[in-house]
Each structure stands twice: as C-alpha cells, then as structure tokens.
Amino acid sequence: MNSFPFSIAELALSSQYVLPLLILLGAGLLLMLLDAFGAAKFLPWVAGAAFLLSAGVAWTQGAPAGRLAFFGMMETGGIAPIVHAFLCLSGLLTLFFLSDYLDRHDRHISDVYALLVFAVLGMSLMANAHDLIMTFIGLETMSMCLYIFAALFKTELKSNEAGLKYFLLGSFASAFLLYGIALIYGITGTTNFSLLASPERIEIIQSQQTVFYVGAGMLLVGLLFKVSAFPFHFWTPDVYEGTPTPLAGFMATGSKMATFVALGTLMHQLDMFQNTKLLSVVGLASLLTMIYGNIVASRQQNIKRMLAYSSIAHSGYVLLGLCASQSGMEAMLFYMFIYTLMNIGAFGMLGMVEHDYPDTELENWRGMGQKAPLFAVAFSLFLFSLAGIPPLAGFMGKYEIFIAVIREGLLLPAIVGILASIVGVYYYLRVIVVMFFSKSGETSALLPSASRIPLAGAAILVVLVLVLGIFPSLILNPITQALSGLSQATAVLP
C-alpha cells in the first residue's frame, strides 16, 4: 500500500499515460450523447475517428516496458501501445462492415457503436493490465459488450439464443477466473504483477504449490475459455452463428487478441507461470484445439460455422506460439494482427452477401464465381490466407509461429501443428470450389450490391493481406522493437 504514494502529479502523469484509453472512454460517452440528440448517422464516423485518434496517440506514445500508470495498475510501455493500436484497428475495421450490415437487415441499433468502443476499451484494459484486478475488469467490460453483440438481433432466434448461451457460459468461465485470482491473492496478498514477480512472493508460492496450482489453473481456464480453446470452446460456433456477422468477426479477432496478450503477459512476465506443468496445460490445450478445430471445421456446411470452427483452430496455433517464450510472443502478436485482417475481412464479406445468399449456407454460394467474380476472388484470397498459402499474409503468420516453436526445440508439437494446418486447407478450399467450379449459368455484376464503405474496407484488407505477405517486416519490426524491452524468459514443455 505504502509503496504507491498518493500525489496529484502522479495522477496527472498516469492520466497522460492512459490517454489512449481515456480517448476511447470519452468517445463512448460522446457517442451515447450524440445518439440521444438524434445524430445517429454520424456515429460510425465518430467511432472511427476515435479509434484512429486513440491508436495514433498510442502509437506515438511508445516507451520501454515498465512505464506503469495508476499505482501499477496498467502497463503503458513495451508492447502496450502497439497492442492498443491493433485492438483499435480491429474495431475500426469492423466499422467498415457494420453499419451497412445493420442497414441491410433493417436494424438501426445505434447503441452498438458506443458498445464497440467500450469493447475495445475493455480489451485494451485487459491486454495491458498490470494487475489481475485490471485483467478481470477489462475482461468483464469486453465480455459485457460481446454478450450484447451476440444478442443484438434479439427477435431472431439464433441471435437471441447466442446471447443467452454466451452470457451464461461466459459468466460460468468468469467465475473460475475470479476464483483463481482470489486464490492467488489469498496466497500472496497481492494481485499486482510486479509484486507477484518479487522474490518473497515467489518463495511463498513455492511453499504453497497446491493452492497456487488450483488458482493458476482456474485463471488459465477462464482465459482459455475466452480464446475458445478445447475443451472450453463449445460456445464458439453457436455464438458466432447467432451474432451479426461483422461483429462475429470482431469477436473472433479483437477479444482473442486481448486475451492472448493477457495470457502471454502472465506466462512470460511472471516467473510463477514459467512452470512446466502450466505450460504443458497450455501446450496440450493448443494441440487438442488445433486438431479438433480443423477436423470439425471440415464437416461444416455453413460458412459462418466453418469460420467459427476455423477460429478455434487458429487459437490452437497461437497457443502453441505462446508456449515458445518471447519469440513466441512476437509470433503471436504478428499472427493475431494478420488474423485480424483476414478474419474481419472474411466475416465482413460474408456479411455483405448474407442478405442475397441466405443463411451463409455453403450450398447457396454455388456459382458465386460467375455471379460476382471480383467478390469471389477477394473472398478466396482471405480464405487462402487463412489456409496459410504463400505468399499471402496468413502463411507468414504460421511460418513465424512454427519457426518460433521449432527454435524452442518443440519439434513434435510443431509437426502436429503443421499437420493440422494441412488438414485445414481442405475446408477453406471447399468454399472456393463451390464458388468457382459450379456453373450457375447466370452472369451479373462483378460485386454483390453493397454500398461503398464495406467494399472499400474489403479492398483495403485485400491489399493489406497481399502486402503483408510480401513485406511482413512492416509490422514485424515494430513488434520486435516493442518487445525487445521485455525480460526474456525461457519456456519448457516436456
């Protein structure tokens, strides 16, 4: 307590450090006000500007790791700015597709923009937390918004059910997380990362192995649930299917990135998590997740569900990367960035045609290659990228992960991962096959009827996926730089 003396100067400095977060907070409130005063059509633009501003401020604020704000609650140096920028980007990209989607379905739910901003705020709180309390609050903020997203089209059965399911299962998982935190606090008397890493705490933890394991295990479970790792993934396909498609893309990317960063921070910054047993839990979950996600995805007849299962599989790869010390952290961030691009792109484009090709059933997509060739080509690019075909960005992501894992000497898991990703190619390919190799006879517009904004979004994403496949260092270098300040820790996995 006394290690954090109270002072106005400290508060001011802290506020300055967390300025990107405050921008989001202010923007969220502003959005609610604007909505109340009937300026609903400006909301997406305001939200987008807020994301851009917040990301920009964060990006320029870079600092070495260890710049803590608010009495050690938040990390604002190291990877924090870049992670924050990435999260803002996932929100921004979602915006491209969101309002068009709502218009198309005649649901002008203007509250969604404020929620989107709050969700990103929550993600950033969670990812850059330096205290387990913050991790939990961030996670809850994020989850609360996601629950509402799932239930947004409440008059539709699928959405209604998705919201309820996600809420119940999410609370179930949060309970474990919270109990885990409580147990860790019970042993150590603190939730602060710096204090948890201090020698006397480590000594206590070592003398209280059993309780620590229970606490840490529950903490892991709570986080693994959020990234839909096997066997905590059950909610994923149902929830994604019910969620409005662009928001499902947001769920699959932003929230996972935040959780992975939180998990990675725990695993690599706290010595107590540098533990063979905990790592093998993550490693094993990763292997099962990859295998399970890929096999089950290959059986799906609905593109949205297929993408949901594929997002489970992708979580598996990232978890594998997390087992591989700091280069794994780097690979993880890079992968999640790439994944954000291609997955929001895929979900967004799916949402664009959901109205004309109902229910995202694969069967209804026959002959898309003839009906809307440019659309089909762009969608195929995202799928190829997800499948990890070079030279698209997805390949670079996987390559980074597997190289990091191999460097760590984890040969067997890497081989399983490669094998699983090879299986994965099949189901992405199937969609392409259906689009291109079945003649419907009709030819028509190059693109489905969609307004310009989502089209522009898709175009930007296509270019990014292509460019980052060829020039990955554009993103990889800043990540490496941001990470270089972190202390290095080595991982072990039997």
């Binding site: 529950m218 905990l278 089950v296 569900r305 780097e330 890497a414 099949y426 259906v434």
Partner: protein, 650 residues
C-alpha cells in the same frame, strides 16, 4: 534494383496481374484473344531470351540477384533472392522455352473459350511460380513456388469443371499435394533446426563437409521427408493418383504442367539438395525401389487404357519413375538430363494429342473425342500432327539416335553399374529394362491406333489438321526431341568426355562416383548399348506389326497374354479404392462419430422450426433446461477438473 534477371521472375507475374485484373474488370478486354494470348506469350518469351543470353554467356559464376528482404526474424534473414547457376539455368531454359511454345499453341487451342483470359492469367502465374521454385536461393522462396505451382495446377485442372462432383474430384490433386507439402514443411523446419539456415548454398556446403558426412545418417529424416514431398509433386507411389485425374484440364496444361515442368519439381529439389542425399544411401535405396515399382506399375496400367490422355498420363508417371531411379542410383545429372529430354518429347506428345482431340471435337467424330478406339487413320488428314507424334513416340520408346535413347540408356547403365556395389540395383535395372520394353510397346500402340490403321470414327466426319499456330510448336518440339539427346553422349564415347551436360552440371551436382565400375566392367557398357538397340527397335516393330495386323483386336491378344492381371491393370491397380478405404473413410468417421459429442449443434432441437418466433421469457427458460447449455457446462467442468487434477496430482 531491377536487374535484367529480375525480369525473368517479374514479367510473368506482371502478365498474370494485367490479364487477370483486366479480364475481371473489363468485359471488352476478355474478347481480345489476340492481345491476351500474345501478351501472355511475350511475358514468357522475353524471360526465355534473357535466360538464353545468360546461358550462353555463363562464366561458371552463378548470377545472384535479390529483389528485397522478405523477413528478418530471430537472426534468420529470408530474402526474395534468386540464383541462376549450373542447375537452374538449363531448367529455366526448358521452363520458359517449352512454356513459351505452349503459350503460343494455346492461343490456337483455347480459341473462343469463354475463360480465355483466365487461362492465360493462370498460365503466366504458373510460369512465375515455377521460376520461383527453380531459381530460389532459399527454401522459403522455393516453397512459395512449390505452393504456387500446385495452386495453378489445381486451378487449371478444374478449369472446365462445371459440376460439384467433378470439382470435388479435382480437390484430390490439391489434397494429395498437401500431404507432400506437409512433408516439405517438416523437412524445411528440420533443416532449419539442423543447419540454422534455409539457404541452399549454405545447406549444401555444410552437408558436403566431410566432417558432417562422418556423422552417419543424420540426414535420414530430412531426405526421406523431402522425398515424400517429391512423390507428391512428381507423382510417385504412394501419392501419384492425382496425376491421371489431372488430365481433365485443358491439354496444353497437361503438356506444360503435368508433363514437362511442374511434375519434375520433386526431382529438381532432390538434385538441388544432392549432398544431403549422397550422404544418406538408405534413402537413395528407398527412392530407387519406389521409383522402380511406380515406373513398372504405371507402364502396365498404360497398356490397358484407351483414353489418349490417360495413356500419356501414366506414361508420364512411368517416365518420372525413371528419373527417380536415376536419383536413387545417385546419378543426379542423368535425372536432370532425362527431365529435359522428357520435357521435349512428352510436351510434343501431349500437344499432339491436344491437336487430335481438337480435331475430333470439331468434326464431332465420336462420342468421346479422347478414346483411341474411336480414332484410327487420323494421319491421313493430320500430317504434321501424325509425323511429330510418331517422332516423339520413337524418342520416348528409346529408338537410337533420338533424345530418349540417350537419357534412358544412361539411367539404365547407371543402375546397372551401381549393381556391382549393391545387388539390389541389378534387380532395379531389370525392372527398368522391362519398363522400357513396355513403354515402347504401349506408345507404339497408342500412336498406331490413333494415326494409322482403319478409321473407326463416324463416317462422314471431316478431320482437319490444326492451325499453324498449333503445328509450329509441335515441329519445334519434335526437332528438339530428335536433337535433345546429343548434349549427353554415353560414357562409352571418349570416357564421358563428350557428355556436355555432365560437364555443365559437374561443378554443382555431384553424382555417385561410378568411374571405377565403369572402367572395370567396360564391356558391359557395350552390351547394354546393344541391348538397348535390340530391345527398343524390336519392341516397336513387334507392336507395330501386331496392331497393323489385328488393329483394335490386338488388345484382346494382349489381354490374353496378361490373363486375369489385365483386370488389375485396367483398374489402375485400385489405388483410389485403397485410399478410400484406409484414408477417406476413417477420416470421415473421426469427424462424424468420434468428435460428434464435442460438436455443438447450433440452435437447440426444441426450438428448431419455430421460425422467427419472438422468444419470451418462458421460452428462454424452457430452452435453458432442455438445451445444450447445461451440456456445455458439464463438459467445461470436465475440462476444469482435468486441468486441476493434472496440476495438483500430476
């Protein structure tokens, strides 16, 4: 930064992008067949010219160039860097040369096809990928090309597919190739782990290091996996089944991708990594045995096929087997030699078959324009096609003086002389000789039934020779099929002094040294040569006589000769059925049965069909109780229990 060499890589890509995007965006552009065709051809011809000048100006100094640095991570710097060296120059000559011819041929062949622009965009993309594969200086760029050619091949196989069932079949090529890719990736990562680099020259330098050699078979897994990858790309047992199916694509594609270039990528890669392979004799043994089996099996299958392209496809598998036999014998340069001669005559054969199919289709001469049983005597109306096809047939049959003779004889003799070190090679040699006899037989059968004998197509159909745009490439290839062999005269003549090709490659590619055996048992060299003379000429004459006498009925005699086994040959040795039983179905079973309990079902059963009913509170509760949520919770609790139990007690 943009050197002239980099155009070799960049121009085909540029062509693909311009044609692809132009065609997508502009309907009028799609109609400009001449523009599209010649633009695409130019994008291959110019690189061919550049490679040619580099080839003749080659000073034994590899030309390296790098476009830009791809990525730097953890001390590993991967660049888009390429190298034109002893090995990649001749390969690039073949790829761009034969590629350009096939581009030009396709302008005639694809005339009026609705997907004209797409076809040429894919072809250019293929040349780009293939150049990457061959010229790559490191494994990652090589892999980019490796995947790229597979992708193009897949796109082109499915080019004419219109219904789902066939399209699903087209996936086979891709999926089989993915098995190969898996092996390739693992091999790549193993190489990284062992050598700490993915650079070809560094890997080879390290592997050729005598100290490293002493370490025994540490390359066993790497080389084995590379070979598995090669079996996928180059259609060997057990991953060859996709190649015959790939014949569904347009014929120029079969000529370019599935005969002359892409399928030889596996051989090229093994030659590239030859120091690793030389250091692992066990794997070479595996290669030679698999290759011999593939080769003879494919040749036997080819005898019993009636589809002109299927015969050629199995013939390709069989010839690829020959190349792998050469690899297995440690005769790496010989394998590349056969790759080159094979590219000439097999491309010519495929293009000739394309010309035939084209003619048959246009004259509506038969139900199935590819069935040789409904052809016959086409040579009367198609002089150029017939003549070039026969020349290439004689070349592949190994008639002395033509290209196939030199390379095939060299393979057989290297197998034979390896036999003095290891008896297994004698057996492989015998199998190879038998396969050579079969090859001469089925190719003569094919050519005769197509071009000579009685006309069996619908009477009244008018068969026309194809346009010059198509016949000129045929003639060029036929000339190459005659002359191509003279770059590698047998050892017999001046102790290999006149084997220009070996000298060319000699600095980079090291063969297993057979010098000793060759000198000691020089007499066999004469015997083998005589044997090759007798066997090839004899078989061709025998087959010609048999089919000219009995025409189609001669097949019955063949059937009688093979007895029950003929059914196995006609049934393609039942590989597809085997895979269905041991791979496809178990996988489907895992998906549908084993993982079923862990798969969520979407909307709960009780509310399905309720449509867009407004869900009230009551319904929500009802769903909760009947629904899957509690199932999920039970399963999640199970997961938590497992984790905690492991952590506490494990």
């Amino acid at each position: 930064m943009v050197s002239l060499e980099s155009l070799i890589v960049l121009l085909p890509l540029l062509g693909a992008v311009i044609i692809g995007l132009g065609g997508l965006a502009n309907a009028a552009f799609r109609k400009q067949e001449g523009l599209i065709g010649w633009l695409a051809s130019a994008m291959v011809l110019i690189p061919f010219g550049i490679v040619l000048t580099r080839f003749f100006g080659y000073q034994n100094m590899p030309l390296s160039f790098s476009l830009f640095s791809w990525m730097q991570a953890g001390g590993l710097d991967i660049s888009f860097s390429y190298k034109l060296d002893d090995l990649s120059l001749p390969m690039m000559l073949v790829v761009t040369g034969v590629g350009a011819l096939i581009h030009i041929y396709s302008i005639g062949y694809m005339h009026k096809d609705p997907g004209f622009y797409k076809f040429f965009a894919y072809l250019n993309l293929f040349i780009f990928a293939m150049s990457n594969l061959i010229m790559a200086d490191n494994l990652v760029v090589m892999f980019l090309g490796w995947e790229g050619v597979g992708l193009c091949s897949y796109l082109l196989i499915g080019f004419w597919y219109t219904d789902m069932i066939k399209a699903e079949a087209a996936q086979k090529a891709f999926i089989v190739n993915r098995i190969g890719d898996f092996a390739m990736l693992v091999a790549m990562f193993l190489i990284y782990q062992m050598f700490g680099t993915l650079d070809f020259s560094l890997i080879n330098a390290e592997a050729a290091n005598p100290v490293a050699e002493a370490a025994g078979n540490r390359y066993f897994w790497i080389t084995l996996l590379v070979f598995v990858a090669a079996t996928g790309k180059s259609a060997q047992i057990p991953l060859f089944t996709w190649l015959p199916d790939a014949m569904a694509g347009p014929t120029p594609v079969s000529a370019l991708i599935h005969a002359a270039t892409m399928v030889t990528a596996g051989i090229y890669l093994i030659v590239r990594l030859n120091p690793l392979f030389l250091a692992s004799p066990e794997v070479l043994m595996v290669i030679v045995v698999i290759a011999a089996l593939t080769s003879v099996m494919a040749a036997l299958t080819a005898i019993a096929q009636n589809d002109i392209k299927k015969v050629l496809a199995y013939s390709t598998v069989s010839q690829l087997g020959f190349m792998f036999m050469a690899l297995g014998a440690g005769a790496f340069t010989t394998a590349i030699f056969h790759v080159i001669t094979h590219a000439f005559f097999k491309a010519c054969l495929f293009l000739g078959s394309g010309s035939v199919i084209h003619a048959m289709e246009h004259a509506h001469a038969a139900e199935d324009p590819q069935d040789i049983r409904t052809m016959g005597n086409l040579g009367k109306d198609m002089k150029s096609t017939s003549l070039t096809f026969w020349i290439s047939t004689l070349a592949i049959a190994g008639i002395p003086g033509l290209a196939g003779f030199f390379s095939k004889d060299e393979i057989l003799s290297s197998l034979f002389f390896n036999g003095f070190e290891n008896q297994v090679y004698f057996a492989v040699w015998a199998v190879g000789l038998f396969t050579a006899i079969l090859t001469a037989f089925y190719m003569t059968r094919l050519a005769w039934l197509t071009f000579n004998g009685k006309a069996r197509y619908k009477t009244g159909a008018h068969i026309h020779e194809s346009a010059p745009l198509m016949t000129i490439p045929l003639w060029i290839l036929a000339v190459l099929a005659v002359l191509g062999g003279y770059i590698g005269l047998p050892y017999l003549i001046g102790h290999g002094e006149f084997h220009l090709f070996n000298h060319w490659l000699g600095d980079l590619v090291v063969n297993r040294d057979l010098h000793h055996a060759l000198e000691e048992h020089a007499v066999f060299e004469y015997l083998l040569l005589a044997l090759a003379f007798i066997v090839s000429i004899g078989t061709v004459l025998f087959a010609r006589n048999l089919y000219s006498k009995h025409d189609l009925a001669a097949d019955d005699k063949v059937k009688g000769f093979f007895g029950k086994f003929y059914g196995v040959m006609a049934g393609k040795f039942f590989w597809d059925e085997l895979y269905d039983t041991i791979l496809v179905r178990p996988f489907a079973w895992i998906g549908s049965k084993l993982l079923r309990p862990f798969e969520s079902d979407g909307v709960d059963g009780i509310v399905t069909g309720a449509g867009s009913a407004v869900a009230g509170i009551g319904e929500v509760f009802r769903r909760l109780q009947s629904g899957l949520v509690s199932n999920y919770m039970v399963l999640i609790s199970g997961g938590v229990l497992l984790v905690l139990t492991y952590l506490i007690f494990g």
